[in-house]
């Protein structure tokens, strides 16, 4: 049928695009994480790089092998697997055996993302699924923290990094407790300046509070993520822990120590803000963040573990569909939204 000029292309409006793509958003988050990565390398030496490479290789490998075929590796281009790998590495201890790290990255992508149907469909943050997997499989290795500067120099590699697969991972000679561990089991407090500057033991990316905070502010201004989520988390942790602390300043840690120690800041800025697993609705984002904050404080103060950010985020990830259901925006020109 001669429907008209054959050269004319028919598409559906709108014909303009903002020009920002999903891979670019992912890249922006990775770049926004740059200073945290540099801080990790600065504090923990070349081991940090090894752990990051191992998790990223695991994550990207799993995505390539088990992700959508035709063409194989198509979904690697969206950058999300690489992001998962880096985030996972940043919440592991520096002396972590590399084979475990590789496995963690692969498990995060397989169980946390591909099992649900790939990017956008997953219920839980893949990096945290990877970490939960490692915590369950290797509880010893993942809680063996080495202090900064425990080794000779930048290029000295921790022996435990190269532990052979399925052999007993040899713990480091100098195992140190994290500030939260000290707080919980030995009732010692760590000076605030150490917490802020990162002069403590801990996972690769979580020690230096100042760097994470600054990166978070820059990324929030650049709208790389929904600023409401970290704001809600920090607010609720502050409020909740201040109330508890006011009851008994001897027994409970001060709110500023709660805010700056452990993985709270890193989790709030880089993990809870994963758009796929957090509510899209603005009011939902506030509820989501507040819930994480409350659970973190509950686990830290009364739970069996010293740290609870991972489980707090995973639990609220699971609650996201419910939160969204009750926080749908009020459509223009309609009264209170009618729920079915």
């Amino acid at each position: 049928m001669m429907a008209g000029d054959p050269r004319l292309l028919l598409q559906s409006a709108p014909f303009l695009r903002r020009g920002i793509t999903t891979p670019r958003l992912m890249t922006e988050v990775i770049i926004g994480m740059g200073p945290v990565i540099l801080a990790a390398v600065y504090f923990f030496g070349i081991s940090a790089i090894f752990v990051m490479l191992a998790t990223t290789a695991g994550a990207a490998g799993a995505e390539w092998l088990l992700g959508p075929a035709r063409p194989r590796g198509r979904t690697l281009k969206d950058g999300s697997a690489i992001l998962t790998g880096i985030v996972l590495a940043l919440c592991l201890p520096p002396g972590f055996p590399l084979w475990m790290a590789f496995l963690g990255g692969a498990a995060g992508i397989c169980l946390g993302k591909l099992a649900f149907g790939g990017l956008g469909q997953n219920m839980f943050n893949p990096a945290l699924v990877g970490r939960a997997f490692l915590q369950a499989a290797f509880p010893g290795a993942i809680t063996t923290w080495s202090a900064q500067g425990d080794i000779g120099g930048f290029f000295t590699v921790r022996a435990s990094n190269f532990a052979a697969p399925f052999m007993q991972a040899t713990p480091d000679a100098v195992a140190t407790a994290t500030p939260l561990g000290l707080m919980k089991f030995e009732h010692q407090t760590t000076p605030l300046t150490d917490l802020l500057l990162g002069n403590t033991a801990g996972s690769l990316g979580e020690t230096c509070a100042i760097v994470i905070l600054l990166c978070g502010v820059v990324m929030a201004v650049r709208r790389a993520f929904d600023w409401r989520i970290p704001a809600a988390i920090l607010l609720s942790v502050t409020v909740f822990s201040t109330v508890v602390w006011a009851f008994n300043t001897e027994k409970f840690p001060a709110p500023w120590a709660m805010l700056t120690s452990g993985g709270l800041l890193f989790g709030a800025v880089y993990m809870a803000t994963d758009p796929v697993t957090s509510p899209v609705t603005p009011r939902g984002a506030w509820a989501f963040g507040a819930g994480i904050g409350v659970i973190v404080v509950l686990i830290r103060l009364w739970g069996g573990l010293p740290e609870g950010v991972m489980y707090a985020i995973l639990l609220m990830n699971a609650a996201t569909p419910l939160i969204e259901r009750v926080t749908q925006p009020r459509p223009f020109g309609r009264g209170a939204i009618e729920h079915e």
């Binding site: 958003l25 969206d78 925006p329």
Partner: protein, 444 residues
Amino acid sequence: MSSLPNRKSFRHGVHPLEHKEETEHLPLERMPFVGRYVLPLGQHIGAPCRAVVRAGEKVTRGQLIAEPGGFVSTSLHSPVTGRVVDVGPHRQGNGQLVPAIQIEADPYSSQQFRERDPVDPFAMGVDEFAASVQRAGLVGLGGAAFPSHVKYKLPEGKACERLVINGCECEPYLTCDHRVMVERPAEVVRGVSILAEKLGARGAWIGVEMNKPDGIDSLRAHLPAGSKITVAPLAVKYPQGAEKMLIKAVFNEEVPAGHLPLDIGVVVNNVATMACLTDWFDRGQPLIERALTVAGPGVDRPANLIVPIGTPIRDVLRHCGINRDTRQVVMGGPMMGMPLATLDAPVVKGTSGLLAFTDNMVNHPTEYACVRCGSCLEACGNFLNPSRLARLARAGRYEELEGAFVMDCMECGACTYTCPSSVPIVHLIRAAKLTIRQRKAKQG
């Protein structure tokens, strides 16, 4: 932003690149007459009109050639002096065959419009006024082409307290309304005064975005002292020209969903329509020509043209130097316009622009998975959840779509514009709405 004086707007929305700079300073010029004109009988919303001329008949410029086919329908006039050569099917922009009157221009005619004496609209009754507007063939010139007299004939029990004139022109590239405000402010203001008086409105507000300061100034300079017309400068944002968004911007009031602006006592009209209203009452010129913008990298000489209705689009584009790189021609704006399947289609009453796009502009990035980033929620002026609507539409879950208020969507395309994953959100919504309407029609 909203706290600053004179920076009114609605909430949410997007800020596309304006691309107005290439035409906003180009004065309106007349498109030369061409050989043949095509006038589809259904170029407005509502029932198509009925031809009252036959092939072979001679017509003069401005002569009635088709009468309204119902109340929600309007008249059609010959844009040229010449001879009717055909009344029958002709291909329109979307590729469909529609009934149309074809007129061959008389090459020896001066094509001068013979003016009649001014008619005093103030002396008319309201019904007589609306009937007169219907005889003028006037429709909303913003793009929807809704017959104007329907809005002017207020139903029993409804009153128009406030008249809002839409001078937003929020679509990128388009500048014809802008030029009308700059070059024909007296006609616009007179049209607004006539209409405000006839509708019994207590005031009229002309909403103009701040990217047209000369338009605002020229309109203000022509407001008579003590006039009840206000020019309201608005912040630049898309889709401010959508009438409910415009009312929100001007009055900070929401028209209830599923209702018309008239239900809160507001009537909205386009600025260019006002100038045509003046032309009709003062000179007797019906809607036989309109201003439109021809722009985009596919034309060498972008322009703001006054084009006789019915001019084939191919002729208009040739006049503006269409080049070989053109890959897509869009009728209307780039956000809500319609891509043309054929350039033989004519300029109709609702044609606000012709945009010629080249290869690098028509290749949109590949679609990625929705990462639920929430950009579309922040773009949607109707406060819907477009990502959810798109997901439900893909799954064909029509009952849930209705529960998520898909029918409230005005299809402005802001969600698709902003989506980083290039999900064709508004396309999916449009298709779903069509299916829902068809299902309803089948049931009832």
